[in-house]
């Protein structure tokens, strides 16, 4: 009888767990090379590779969709079983998502032309200069809150050309993205002056996602750091 009860309990638990785990997650991201690159299927890139690996290891079905960031934000707030990445985790957003963090630790730098007369030692040295960045980025919010002269474009890629044409003094960009775009466009007259901010990027899931699933993803992410998986993925894109 005791064995039977145990068997039933395990059986019922299995049903419960499998029904909890059966959902297909919608994972939203924006196109942001080299973190997410549109391609055949669900795309590639450092953050897409990390998140794909994470869900596969957790045993959850998922679908990655690349959409504009603002739409991704809207959908992730309203739709159950939906997550967005790579999202900057901050105080204002803390209560609005379940957080699996960090899937990435990124850095933002100031880039100028090599022949620029401006020397940037601290972030304060960029005061009074025209800084280019793109819409919806954490960089734009951060610099605007400090009162910098920020010019925002819909996408980041045009900023590198604006910098080369002296239409902006400084380009504030993610360090991996800046290198990727400089290589892609064969830009050599550009220098990294100051890497001024580090950001924890998270997978942010709708608050209706079950706590048990969130905890499973958190455990798997930690293992991916300790076994070197994250480092290996990032190094492919450096």
């Amino acid at each position: 009888m005791k064995i039977r009860v145990t068997y039933l309990t395990v059986f019922m638990l299995n049903i419960l767990v499998s029904s909890v785990y059966a959902t297909t997650f919608t994972l939203l991201t924006e196109e942001l090379p080299p973190y997410s690159i549109r391609g055949n299927g669900s795309g590639t890139g450092a953050s897409i590779d990390i998140v794909s690996q994470l869900f596969e290891r957790a045993g959850f079905d998922y679908e990655i969709i690349i959409v504009p960031w603002k739409r991704a934000m809207r959908m992730s707030l309203s739709d159950a079983n939906t997550c967005i990445f790579p999202m900057q985790r901050n105080q204002e957003r803390e209560a609005t998502y379940h957080w699996i963090s960090p899937i990435l630790i990124t850095q933002t730098g100031f880039y100028t032309r090599k022949d620029s007369p401006h020397k940037l030692v601290t972030i304060d040295d960029a005061k009074g200069l025209i800084i280019g960045t793109y819409n919806g980025s954490a960089v734009a919010e951060y610099l605007t809150s400090w009162g910098y002269d920020v010019r925002i474009t819909p996408r980041d890629a045009p900023n590198i050309h604006k910098l080369m044409k002296n239409r902006i003094d400084v380009w504030a960009a993610d360090t991996l993205s800046a290198k990727y775009l400089a290589d892609k466009h064969k830009i050599t007259n550009m220098k990294e002056q100051l890497v001024y901010f580090s950001t924890l990027r998270a997978l942010a899931c709708n608050t209706k996602v079950a706590e048990i699933k969130v905890n499973k993803l958190r455990q798997e992410l930690k293992l991916m750091y300790t076994d070197g998986t994250i480092e290996a993925i990032i190094s492919k894109y450096k």
Partner: protein, 579 residues
């Protein structure tokens, strides 16, 4: 090589170089030299003019930094801190000075306090080096001490960091070392800035004869600095309900904030329960029960709920939450309920608030802006800060408020060379060469010598009582979260998540605190199972609450009268009462 360096030094005589720089440079042959000393002299002459050291002593201190930094020249060091005036000054000015003087490239990042917490928690959990040092609140002392992931500065200064430890650091001069020392007596963090949480009020309104007369007529005692919560409540009611308007403008007798947001948690974790009197006697945090309501035995947390000997859901805690909600609803501006910490911080400066029981002195600089309606034309504030009133459960010998002590914190996962270079920067921004000027900018004192300096005596009138508070004995009763809390980042979210339920009326204060205490116990139990490097929780078994409520100290039984007679004092007497 040394000879050549010396020649190069002396060759710069044609530049405008002081005799002192020349003397120091020429007499110390190993100094690399002159450019760095010139940079140091430039900074001392132009920026660090206010110091408790003489210029000669400042130059010698800088000379030590130049020498000690030689092995690290050209390295990039990355540190992070929260966004307050003091740290902004460090990031914009002191980082640049350090770089010019030592040749170490220093990136001092500024971000939200919550982000600093997430980052340090990530580095602790993953052993993944993100920064070379953090300016992290000493509220983490219990976490750091137990984690085994934070460098003991006592050991570091005596061992591998000996040659990079400033001889004139003068640790005895720091006022906050007891907050950053673990139960093992070792220093784990070095204070960088401190600010307290005090009572704030409009001294000009409190001095008005008509208000004094009508207050006395209504309540039977003098309008003055409230010494207990009864008086605070009466004054709040007086201004919001009876005075109502001044010069045609609606005014309020209380200000606070209640939005569901992580900053709501600080309102409580920053010692609100201790102000009501929920914890035990004992400085800095109350033993065996602290201001979070956590009981410790032999450094091991044993429970937060009353049934395990804690005080988180005891009568004093429930009283504290009840009064917070009642005052917010009855006496504060209606919009306060939907504000967070940052939004609420600016409101007293707008000139419609008579008093605020929970006010961070970090706002001092912002509230002395001459353009604000709370400033007189002669640069003297119309407001004052004073020691906070205490709740009915408070007893002499207990802490009475919170002090934030942002402190330099070094992780074992940081490479040693980076850690040493970052330690040099930490000592630079807290050195006597720099600290008085930094205090004048940010008003967040860390050194007794600065607080007692002639300069601060001359300028004290500008700061509404800040200097007087830090010179009084009262300051020892204002302390950060202590070592009872074994995992600050892992436990602190419980405050805002649960108290917001009571603020929004979804649960009663008692229900919310019962839920929170149960969740705190669960997390402490999880820590017990997981284990910590030292002093991990060892939870008490549950007992009938009456057992613990009948023991001396916390948790304390419900008082028959939670509103004793209100007591007030004139401003000067309110400070003298602590001496």
């Amino acid at each position: 090589m040394v000879y050549q360096e010396k020649r190069q030094c002396l060759a710069r005589k044609r530049h405008r170089v002081s005799k002192l720089t020349l003397f120091l440079c020429a007499s110390i042959l190993s100094t690399p030299c002159m450019a760095d000393m010139l940079a140091a002299e430039k900074w001392i002459n132009n920026e660090f003019k206010e110091s408790t050291l003489t210029k000669e002593q400042q130059m010698k201190e800088m000379q030590w930094f130049i020498n000690a930094a030689r092995p690290f020249k050209g390295m990039t060091i990355r540190v992070v801190s929260e966004r307050i005036d003091t740290h902004v000054y460090e990031a914009k000015v002191l980082a640049k000075a350090f770089q010019e003087i030592t040749g170490i490239k220093l990136v001092h990042e500024i971000t939200g306090e919550d982000d600093v917490v997430k980052k340090i928690a990530t580095q602790i959990e993953l052993d993944y080096s993100i920064y070379d040092a953090y300016i992290n609140d000493s509220d983490f002392i219990g976490t750091h001490y137990r984690s085994g992931k934070v460098v003991s500065l006592t050991d570091f200064m005596a061992g591998e960091g000996k040659e990079v430890t400033l001889p004139s650091l003068d640790l005895e001069d720091f006022i906050g070392l007891s907050f950053t020392t673990g139960p093992d007596g070792k220093l784990y963090q070095l204070p960088d800035q401190q600010f307290a949480n005090l009572y704030w009020y409009r001294a000009d309104w409190f001095d008005r004869a008509d208000f004094k007369a009508s207050f006395k007529k209504l309540y039977g005692y003098e309008l003055g600095v409230p010494q207990n919560w009864s008086a605070y409540e009466d004054i709040a009611e007086f201004f919001t309900i009876h005075v109502k308007t001044i010069d045609g403008k609606k005014i309020y007798g209380h200000m606070d904030y209640g939005k569901k947001d992580p900053s709501l948690g600080w309102r409580f974790s920053d010692a609100w329960l201790s102000m009501a009197g929920a914890g035990d006697k004992g400085i800095p945090n109350g033993l065996p029960v602290d201001e979070w309501g956590i009981r410790v035995e032999d450094c091991h947390p044993v429970g937060a709920s009353v049934s395990r000997g804690g005080a988180l859901n005891g009568p004093a805690a429930v009283y504290a939450i009840t009064k917070f909600i009642e005052w917010l609803n009855k006496f504060a501006p209606p919009e306060a309920k939907s504000m967070n910490f940052s939004q609420a911080g600016a409101v007293p400066g707008q000139g419609t608030i008579a008093q605020q029981i929970f006010w961070y002195t970090a706002f001092t600089a912002a509230l002395t802006d001459p353009k604000l309606p709370v400033m007189n034309s002669d640069g003297v504030p119309k407001w004052r800060m004073a020691p906070s009133p205490r709740g009915p459960y408070w007893e002499k010998g207990m802490k009475l408020g919170y002090q934030d002590t942002g402190s330099w914190t070094f992780m074992t996962s940081t490479p040693l060379k980076n850690r040493k270079a970052a330690w040099l920067y930490a000592q630079f921004v807290t050195s006597k060469t720099v600290s008085l000027q930094k205090m004048l900018i940010g008003l967040t004192p860390i050194r007794n010598s600065d607080i007692m300096s002639d300069k601060m005596t001359k300028v004290a009138y500008k700061y509404g009582g800040l200097i007087e508070f830090y010179r009084s004995k009262a300051r020892v009763a204002w302390t950060p979260t202590g070592s009872n809390v074994p995992d600050y980042p892992g436990l602190s979210d419980l405050w805002w998540k649960n108290i917001s339920l009571a603020v929004n009326g979804q649960l009663s204060p008692q229900e919310a605190m019962n839920k929170m205490a149960a969740e705190m116990d669960e997390r402490l139990m999880a820590l017990e199972q997981k284990g910590q490097e030292r002093c991990a929780p060892r939870m008490n078994p549950q007992k009938d609450e009456s057992y613990w409520l009948n023991q001396p100290g916390a948790p304390k039984a419900k008082l028959a009268n939670e509103k004793p007679q209100g007591v007030t004092l004139p401003y000067e007497s309110a400070l003298e009462a602590w001496n």
